[in-house]
């Protein structure tokens, strides 16, 4: 008997087991060639066979060495369940099957904490799914017609002053604005969230950017895209399309050398600046770009050597909110001549209301948006312990912040944007609508975009390999062979179509409640079938 040690890793320890049907396999090798994780290989095995070689049946059972496809028993090159083998197999001979008895998480800590991409796999609860739009116009007032009426679907990005602070004077019976006010852009209430070049392949980033361009130029929807913390291509920085982009600055300041150098050559202002303090997927943990993904062009754009790039968990030199306001907000505002709104993104936290209150009361009135990112936000790479065990749901946090502003009569002055899990079950419009009724001015999405490009990862442990550089869909990798799998034009088209449907679906939700502009704070339009959720959010409980 062959020696066996229980400490050896076996295929049945892994999260996915390959279901291979040798009788269907034609040995074409496509699956092995396709598997970016090297989780399967060709092996030669001694197999029992019954063969008949005469003109009439003469079955003989014999053993023969045969080539087979075999799963690798490795904690490094393990099957992620991406299913590329199944897609490529011409004969339905292979597919991954989830292994409920996996011991992978337990066993893979030999080289420190587990790292992965994706979003939390433990906290997939869906508060938004126990809320429905329950205040439908019936008799008391007419519903609008989503197809016939006009709807004003825009959200503010920038610091809004209270009416009393507007520098108006009256001349000839007309109001005249005498002084400058902080810049505010009214944009589409759906921001393409910060995924960097580096986290994404350049082609994937380009596909998202292409969709943004198309939505703006051809569809009339002012959708904005945040660059992520990884800089932007110089030719984009100096083009007119910069106006559609929100440039992100995070604690690593990656890409800012190039951005600053491009500033004198910019022909237009960017749509905004987003200071990233934290991220919902890994709050309190900095950004992470594994060495495997730091390709040559990523090194160039970020001005870094080939090494794992870790953004610090906080901005060096900022030790309080006041500091943040005075240093970062002011310097970022000043950098663009106070013409570009500067907003801030934080991970949702038990402290979010305190942060929001501080920003609301800041005497400089300089924060142009508060982005709250919930625990269900995605990431390119993080320690699994952060992904699964840190964070805060975003829904109640948006509500808490909105109500904190209401209490002070300051709602709407610093626009609230919510993200992290928006569109998780496919319908971002419904999620966005409910978030807006609870007080968000708009939402931001990331994961749903790459899912539209072809990402097959989910929150049940499928793939989640964004950190490896081996993304099987060519989205989160810089490997040229894998990147070729992504068709930029079709990817961009998919995003455009989704946003157009999003727009139509938003109208389908606005019309029944009789609103032609966005129902920000219209909590009366929502009801919940969950008593605890209804109570927490201050909406009607129904059953």
């Amino acid at each position: 008997m062959e020696a066996m040690k229980t400490q050896d890793v076996a295929v049945n320890d892994l999260p996915w087991i390959i279901d291979y049907k040798p009788e269907r396999c034609t040995m074409c090798g496509s699956c092995v060639a396709t598997c970016s994780f090297r989780a399967i290989h060709v092996a030669v095995k001694r197999r029992a066979m019954t063969v008949s070689e005469e003109g009439q049946p003469t079955p003989i059972k014999k053993f023969e060495a045969r080539p087979v496809i075999e799963q690798v028993a490795s904690l490094k090159d393990f099957c992620r369940g991406c299913g590329m083998c199944e897609r490529v197999c011409p004969n339905d001979a292979i597919k991954p099957v989830r292994n409920p008895d996996t011991r992978k998480t337990l066993l893979s800590k030999d080289s420190g904490p587990i790292k992965r991409g994706g979003r939390t796999n433990l906290n997939a609860q869906r508060t938004l799914d126990s809320i429905v739009v329950g205040r439908i116009s019936q008799m008391t007032d007419p519903s609008l017609d989503a197809a016939r009426h006009t709807f004003d679907i825009r959200a503010p990005f920038g610091r809004v002053l209270s009416a009393k602070d507007l520098p108006f004077s009256i001349e000839g019976g007309k109001l005249v604005q005498k002084k400058k006010t902080p810049p505010v852009h009214w944009i589409y209430p759906l921001i393409f969230s910060d995924m960097s070049i580096g986290a994404l392949s350049t082609r994937a980033w380009e596909a998202v950017a292409l969709a943004v361009g198309y939505l703006n130029e051809k569809c009339g929807l002012p959708v904005r895209m945040s660059s992520g913390e990884g800089g932007m291509p110089s030719n984009l920085l100096t083009s007119d399309y910069l106006k559609y982009f929100i440039i992100q600055i995070a604690s690593g300041h990656f890409g800012w050398n190039r951005i600053i150098k491009a500033m004198p050559k910019m022909v237009t202002d960017p749509a905004g600046i987003l200071i990233k303090i934290g991220q919902g997927a890994k709050p309190g943990d900095g950004g992470l770009l594994m060495e495997a993904k730091v390709a040559e062009h990523v090194q160039a754009i970020r001005g870094v050597p080939k090494a794992t790039l870790a953004s610090p968990p906080n901005h060096q030199g900022l030790y309080s909110i006041e500091e943040s306001v005075q240093k970062m907000h002011l310097s970022m505002n000043a950098a663009f001549g106070f013409r570009v709104p500067v907003a801030i993104k934080c991970a949702a936290s038990a402290t979010s209301v305190s942060v929001y209150n501080n920003l609301l009361r800041d005497p400089y009135k300089i924060c142009g948006g508060f982005f709250i990112d919930g625990i269900q936000g995605g990431t390119g790479a993080a320690n699994e312990v952060s992904l699964d065990h840190t964070g805060h749901p975003v829904v109640s946090k948006i509500r808490d912040c909105y109500l904190a502003a209401v209490k002070q009569g300051l709602q709407g002055e610093i626009p609230l944007w919510g993200g992290g899990g928006i569109g998780m079950t496919g319908n971002a419009a419904a999620d966005a609508f409910k978030m807006m009724c609870l007080g968000a001015n708009g939402v931001f999405v990331g994961k749903v975009l790459i899912q539209l490009l072809g990402c097959i990862g989910n929150e049940e442990g499928r793939c989640n390999a964004c950190n490896t550089g081996d993304c099987p869909t060519g989205i989160c990798t810089q490997n040229p062979r894998l990147v070729k799998r992504l068709d930029i034009d079709r990817g961009a088209q998919k995003i455009v179509d989704y946003v157009l449907a999003f727009d139509a679906e938003l109208k389908k939700l606005m019309a029944p409640i009789g609103n032609s502009s966005l129902p920000i704070g219209r909590s009366d339009a929502l009801v919940s079938t969950d008593e605890a959720i209804a109570e927490k959010l201050g909406i009607q409980y129904v059953c």
Partner: protein, 368 residues
């Protein structure tokens, strides 16, 4: 659905005129109550036009509480009209024991104070009386303002008019401006405060419709001004906004329409005044209204106005003669009180219009 109506006249008119305006529209307003605000009073109040007039419906205890409060705060009673009701059997009215309409002189130390100080005192006094009466469940105070009288009651408007002798046309209760409405609140609890017209510091307003931005209006208005209270009806939000824009921010009236029904962004971008309109839209996004609505408002100057929601989902028509201008939800009301008017002069305001009637009955149509 309500029906609303108002009359502005060169000669003082009786409340019965307003009833004749409203009753033909009864299929729409269900006859469940009657409420009116009369301004620019003549008849028995002619001599006290500059003195604040308190309009009150209360119990005996309430009357006593009010008297004590006013005495304690040095208001001096000048004139009083306590209607002696016609209590004939069979009238459909849920009457309060007492209706008091009483003129006061300002406390001596306020006599020479500024207009603003006086306005604030009158508001604070009304709010204090309201609180006092609410705590003891002893009545309702509707307005406390010079030259303004408010009456609200639950029941059939015809019977309410009989009860108060409003059909008698005896000349004691007349005014040049009346805003009226013939229904109790149907969306929320029936409380007298919920019946429009509503009144606040010289501003009167009634609305026909459903303000679907009620919650966000209310949440914002609560912290804007101490006078924005109650919120028994979503229509009160229109009055608060009118007061806030015109009285507090002191913006020209034309901007009221830009606040409640802002132009779409695409249209704002085409305008010369886009900077101002955008700033208004973003700073007062919480005062925008939605849903089907028509409003009628009266300003402290006496100017009367009407406008609609941004999609004109509720009707309104303005009719006029040389002597009188009337605003009505339905034209049948105008036909009743001014059958001989030139109908071709009737105005059906569109969704972008504000119609304003000034003291000389000049009708202006403002385009948003």
């Amino acid at each position: 659905m309500c029906r609303i109506g108002s009359i502005k006249s060169k000669v003082p008119i009786q409340p019965s005129k307003a009833l004749h305006l409203m009753l033909p529209q009864q299929e729409g307003h269900d006859n469940s109550g009657f409420a009116m605000v009369m301004q620019d009073l003549y008849g028995i109040f002619s001599n006290y036009k500059d003195k604040p007039l308190l309009s009150l419906a209360c119990t005996q205890k309430g009357a006593q509480l009010v008297e004590e409060y006013m005495d304690a705060h040095n208001f001096v009673q000048l004139a009083e009209w306590i209607p002696v009701p016609n209590k004939e059997p069979g009238l459909d009215i849920k009457a309060m024991p007492y209706y008091i309409f009483r003129n006061y002189d300002y406390p001596e130390d306020i006599q020479n104070a500024s207009k603003e100080v006086k306005e604030n005192l009158l508001l604070d006094t009304r709010l204090a009386l309201r609180k006092l009466l609410e705590e003891k469940n002893a009545g309702f105070v509707y307005s406390f303002w010079p030259d303004v009288l408010t009456l609200k009651e639950i029941g059939d408007p015809r019977d309410i008019a009989t009860y108060f002798h409003l059909w008698d046309d005896n000349g004691c209760l007349v005014a040049k401006s009346i805003v009226a409405q013939c229904r109790q609140n149907t969306n929320y609890d029936i409380v007298r405060y919920a019946a429009h017209p509503f009144f606040l510091q010289g501003y009167t307003l009634c609305a026909n419709g459903e303000n679907t931005f009620y919650t966000k209006n209310k949440e914002f208005q609560k912290s804007l001004h101490r006078g924005y209270i109650g919120f028994e009806s979503d229509s009160q939000c229109f009055l608060n906004t009118l007061h806030y824009v015109h009285h507090e921010l002191k913006w020209p009236l034309s901007y009221y329409k830009h606040v409640i029904t802002p132009l779409p962004f695409e249209e704002i971008d085409q305008r010369e005044d886009k900077e101002v309109l955008t700033a208004i839209r973003q700073s007062l996004a919480n005062l925008e209204i939605n849903g089907p609505n028509t409003i009628i408002g009266v300003l402290p100057s006496g100017d009367m106005m009407t406008c609609c929601d941004s999609k004109k989902l509720r009707p309104v028509v303005v009719g006029r003669t040389d002597e009188m201008v009337a605003i009505s939800s339905e034209v049948c009301g105008l036909n009743e009180i001014m059958p001989d008017r030139d109908e071709s002069q009737d105005i059906y305001p569109n969704e972008r219009e504000v119609v304003v009637i000034n003291a000389d009955l000049e009708v202006q149509r403002w385009k948003q």
